[in-house]
């Protein structure tokens, strides 16, 4: 048991903390209020190698360990969640299937561009009737010679309207249910039959892009089938979400930490009844609870990342990290508004943004209910 970071992890933490404080956090309020897509911040993150953090060095990536990736996710989330989700959909959801399941040709074609940030990635599973019920994907990919013809639509896709490379989950054989799912990677800006649908107007993460994707007889070369074999899609998607859960857990931790930092400052400045707020035991207790929960959530995430780094099964740990991290994000941001009173409710302060941004962590990449099913399945030995 060792709770220390390596010197390299510490150096990464120091760099990303400074970067977030001066290059990301100052733009978060504007990104939210004016719905500004964080393109500039993403470019800067790419220059630091962050967009390629999960990609092997031989394809131009930084090939970071999972603890370091978790550190980065927490810090970026602490600064701006619209930026964090844009980064996460790219570095986790999109890169993971290609890095871990792509053919050598697919890795060579796509990874260097994803690593450098020349390409922004998106991963598309959700449909009007398929989300938690991933097996019910209706988007079809039918083999036609050297091509596949894709029809259907995807909704709520992070980076959907901005991406240069999208991984889509399709069914190549409906009769086989989950064994009939297949994932394709394609370049939307170079592909006919692809169009963008509705851009979503969201409660939080308002600077991020969430959009519908529409496929009408979209023809994709067979070489774009991830892994080159049909029917692997469900397995790949589950692997993507397992891995992504650590990131969402850390996103929750980052949001909670940002809210807590504001509270710690506020209670030492604000006076009521002739005393600074931090003199009131009721508020001290709230702060103590917040800090304890944040630390517990963070440690669950690090533990899941550590198990993953060691190459062991981390399904349960990642689900716990995501479940608890998102719970803590909600609890802490709610308490943070309470501590700030009326000010917390106003848009001049960031607290209400944190609260709005926190909610999605209980929903995307597997709802809290799905996490509980995963944890229970692991406990009861059914597998998932």
């Amino acid at each position: 048991m060792n709770f220390d970071f390596t010197p390299e992890q510490l150096a990464i933490k120091k760099m990303i903390t400074q970067f977030v404080d001066s290059e990301i956090k100052p733009y978060a309020a504007d990104a939210d209020q004016k719905e500004i897509f964080p393109a500039e911040q993403i470019k800067k993150l790419a220059r630091l190698g962050v967009m390629g953090m999960s990609i092997p060095k031989k394809y131009g990536g930084a090939e970071l360990d999972n603890i370091s990736q978790a550190i980065i996710m927490e810090e970026v989330s602490r600064g701006c969640n619209a930026t964090a989700v844009t980064m996460g959909a790219h570095a986790s959801l999109t890169c993971h299937p290609i890095v871990n399941f792509g053919t050598e040709d697919q890795k060579k074609r796509f990874l260097p561009k994803l690593a450098s940030g020349e390409y922004l990635g998106a991963f598309a599973l959700t449909e009007p009737n398929a989300g938690s019920d991933a097996v019910n994907v209706q988007t079809t990919a039918i083999r036609d010679g050297d091509k596949y013809i894709v029809n259907g639509n995807k909704i709520f896709i992070t980076n959907g309207g901005k991406a240069d490379l999208i991984c889509i989950v399709t069914t190549t054989d409906k009769s086989k249910k989950h064994n009939g799912l297949s994932i394709f990677a394609f370049e939307p800006k170079k592909t006919e039959g692809f169009s963008l649908g509705k851009k979503e107007d969201k409660l939080g993460l308002r600077g991020s892009n969430t959009q519908e994707l529409v496929f009408r007889d979209m023809r994709l070369p067979k070489d774009n089938l991830i892994g080159g074999v049909e029917g692997e899609g469900f397995k790949i998607a589950m692997s993507v979400f397992n891995s992504g859960r650590i990131g969402i857990g850390m996103q929750g931790v980052g949001i909670a930490q940002a809210a807590f930092d504001e509270c710690l400052k506020y209670v030492q400045e604000r006076e009521q009844f002739g005393r600074k707020l931090h003199k009131f035991q009721a508020l001290q207790f709230m702060l103590a609870d917040m800090a304890t929960k944040i630390e517990a959530a963070r440690l669950l995430c690090y533990k899941a990342a550590d198990i993953k780094d060691k190459g062991k099964r981390y399904v349960k740990a990642a689900a716990m990290a995501k479940l608890y991290g998102s719970d803590v994000a909600m609890e802490v941001t709610r308490a943070a508004i309470q501590i700030h009173g009326g000010y917390g409710y106003m848009k001049d302060y960031p607290l209400e943004r944190f609260y709005r941004d926190a909610k999605i962590t209980e929903i995307y990449e597997g709802t809290s209910e799905i996490q509980r099913l995963v944890i229970a399945a692991e406990l009861l030995g059914r597998g998932f």
Binding site: T6, P7, E8, A11, I12, M15, Q18, F19, R47, L48, G49, V50, M53, A62, E63, L64
Partner: protein
């Protein structure tokens, strides 16, 4: 173009608090950082290297923990790092420090340009750079805000209180840099990983750099700190309230009281 940059690890003075009872700095738990001016010198060296090719070697004298500042230099893109670490160096003043660093630079040899920060935020002396130039009998230019390399020479804008001087010198020479010379930015993830996995920090002792042992360390230092004290904290400002007429009257009476203005 071989460039040697000298850096110092210093306590982050923004984080230093003062012990109200003793009036001394509380150093415990204070993070250390690469001295800011030195970081600008390092970034300038890397910029020059990227443009003119060559190698950047970073030297620091200090305790084993100073390795962290050297690793940071490597992460920014320096090629080699040397830590001068030896009990014999302990307590060196600026002159003794310059002797050690000068000897180390001689030991490394084959350099075209030596870059230093203007001064360190802990001692604020701005002496070590110039003293090393004297030790090595090199031309020196201090307070550089811009460096341009020519054939065997260098042209430097030297910051003055009002405006700047343009100075040319033959290479090799020693330049100390001010913070206006560049923007620092951040080390990349690739840079950090290389710094910790592929590059080395070489530790050299007093013996290895062949420095005269009577010219280093506390006992050989011609200057010593006689006393450290903290200037008294400034009192709170006073805010005058009321109509313009009232405020001005109050202000004038206070200024008179303090004998800042005379009676009219």
């Amino acid at each position: 173009m071989n460039i040697i940059v000298c850096i110092k690890q210093v306590p982050d003075t923004n984080e230093v608090k003062i012990d109200q009872k003793t009036g001394t700095l509380i150093r415990e738990g204070v993070p250390t950082i690469m001295n800011p001016d030195d970081k600008h010198a390092l970034i300038e060296a890397i910029k020059i290297k990227n443009k003119h090719k060559g190698k950047v070697t970073v030297i620091s004298m200090g305790p084993p923990q100073a390795e962290e500042a050297l690793r940071e230099s490597l992460a920014f893109g320096a090629d080699e790092a040397i830590l001068l670490c030896d009990r014999a160096f302990a307590g060196s003043d600026t002159w003794a420090t310059a002797n050690a660093i000068g000897a180390a630079i001689k030991h490394i040899g084959n350099y075209d340009l030596l870059l230093f920060g203007r001064q360190a935020i802990d001692g604020d002396t701005a002496q070590v750079g110039p003293q090393v130039a004297e030790f090595l009998s090199l031309p020196q230019i201090t307070y550089a805000q811009k460096i341009e390399l020519g054939e065997g020479k260098v042209k430097v804008e030297r910051q003055m209180e009002e405006g700047y001087e343009v100075i040319e010198a033959a290479l090799p020479c020693l330049i100390t840099c001010v913070s206006e010379i560049n923007e620092i930015g951040y080390p990349s993830l690739h840079g950090i990983k290389e710094a910790y996995r592929e590059k080395e920090v070489r530790v050299l002792s007093a013996e290895e750099i062949e420095v005269d042992k009577y010219k280093i360390g506390l006992l050989s230092s011609p200057t010593s700190v006689k006393k450290s004290f903290t200037p008294p904290a400034k009192g709170q400002g006073q805010i005058l309230k009321g109509s313009t007429k009232e405020v001005v009257e109050k202000l004038v009476s206070i200024l008179k009281e303090k004998e800042i203005i005379g009676a009219f």
